[in-house]
Symmetry: C2
DNA sequence: AGTGATTGTATCGTATTGTGATACATAGCG
DNA sequence: CGCTATGTATCACAATACGATACAATCACT
């Protein structure tokens, strides 16, 4: 197994998440690698066009090459293509912003998004991953996962500031909310994603009883007020059922 | 310089552009690598979660991990953030789909896109790169490049079927069109991107006289008919000037 | 301006790691 | 059923990545 490739990936991953360009020594320190190794990796990536020096400095950052590759991958992605029309229709008919998310265990990743007419309450972007315990998108899936998976859930999300920590709520309340979600088949989050933004999500299945992800509807609390939760919730569940159907999936537990 | 990392990138790049999942031997053949090397690289990437086997087969394809990384990079990309509102406004006020492209020498890459109300004449997606000689997006930039850059331009784009090959037109006509583009400051393409789809593009600058890319307006030939070219062309030039301003650029040649 | 610490980059002997020919079992196909 | 092509495993060899060290440039203080 090629350790050098793993080092390359470590560097790329780190730079992808870094807010600012990083220097060699800085990198070496933060990802625990030998300075020489980092230097070699970075100069290789730089020659290949994946990394560049920020103009004026000697610090490095990723170019858009990685993004180019990634967009080709997602363009061809089956599930996304199949479900996009559903999002589009949902956004148009409700006026809200609609997301598609997929489960990537203890996270959900937003895979697609169609903005509604009700303004853009600047929320998540496709590609971002969030612990399943923190938003409606995740809770909708979490509620249907087998018990043993829930046990090992990391309770500590202190670095995800600005999110309501669902798992950190007392175990009693958690079980209770899971039960509620299972019954009405959608999850709700008030200000979970961002202050003043509400969202409702319902799970999607594929294969036999395999949780795939969720359909999420989001808007600020004025447009998506608690009074409308059950009305919109029903529509989200409907969209999620369509999505499950499109993927040829079978829901669990059966209705 | 780490050759192993380069091999890893070769595999990733190839898989990113491959339409179907690829087997080990297949890969080894097509990217001219030793089978053992490919096997080692692929299993490393697979362990790291960047590659997976298509269910039921033993062929490999990329997961969405690369895409996740890439989306973080583009989310933070300065120019894109700055210019997005311009695209949004353009799309809303004209009803056409508006693109932002950047120059990556002999190509332009679509960096952003906002769809207009006039239906989606399913064209390019952000992330795709196209030779500058083939579309309005490219020609708008090409026309202002220094002469020596134009000399070495690859004339053979036979693999880009469905595109009108601008560079393949007789040199006379080419020089003439470049002159026209320089004068009115926008480039036009009828059916260049796709049969029945027209587009108009104007160049953007940054720094001192550095060509950055272009603003492109696209629609099917019914909505964007040749009679409207000069009217819409003026608006595209206006948008591009705003964009140049937003980037703090200086146009060349001066108006 | 001067000093000291930190940084990016270059060097080099060593041994770890990737190499690639070979082998084998399995899957696919006529 | 037999053939070919494929994915995976093995192994001795040598190329390659390693990492301590060195040096010059830059930066941050005083």
């Amino acid at each position: 197994m090629s350790t050098t490739i793993l080092k390359g990936l470590r560097v790329i991953e780190f730079l992808a998440h870094a807010k600012e360009p990083k220097g060699i020594s800085e990198l070496a320190r933060e990802i625990e690698m030998n300075k020489s190794a980092v230097q070699r990796v970075v100069s290789t990536l730089s020659n290949a066009g994946y990394v560049e020096q920020a103009p004026g400095t000697s610090k490095y950052r990723l170019t858009l090459s990685i993004w180019e590759l990634g967009s080709h991958v997602v363009d061809r992605h089956q599930a996304r293509r199949l479900l996009h029309p559903i999002l589009r229709f949902g956004a148009q008919s409700t006026g809200f912003t609609v997301f598609l998310s997929y489960l990537s265990f203890p996270f959900v990743v937003y895979l697609d998004k169609v903005e509604g007419a009700h303004g853009r309450s600047h929320t998540a972007e496709p590609g971002s991953r969030i612990p399943i315990t923190l938003t409606a998108a995740g809770k909708a899936v979490l509620a249907f996962l087998p018990d043993e998976k829930l046990q090992g859930l990391d309770q500590d999300h202190s670095d995800w500031t600005g999110y309501v920590n669902f798992a950190a709520t007392p175990l009693e309340a958690l079980r209770e909310e899971i039960e509620t979600i299972r019954e009405r088949r959608y999850a709700v989050s008030e200000g979970g994603m961002k202050q003043g933004v509400n969202s409702i999500a319902a799970p999607i299945w594929w294969r036999e009883h395999q949780p795939y992800g969720s359909i999420v509807v989001t808007a600020d609390q004025v447009n998506l007020s608690p009074e409308r939760f059950s009305e919109i919730g029903a529509r989200v569940v409907g969209m999620a059922e369509e999505a499950t159907l499109a993927l040829g999936g079978v829901p669990f537990p059966p209705l």
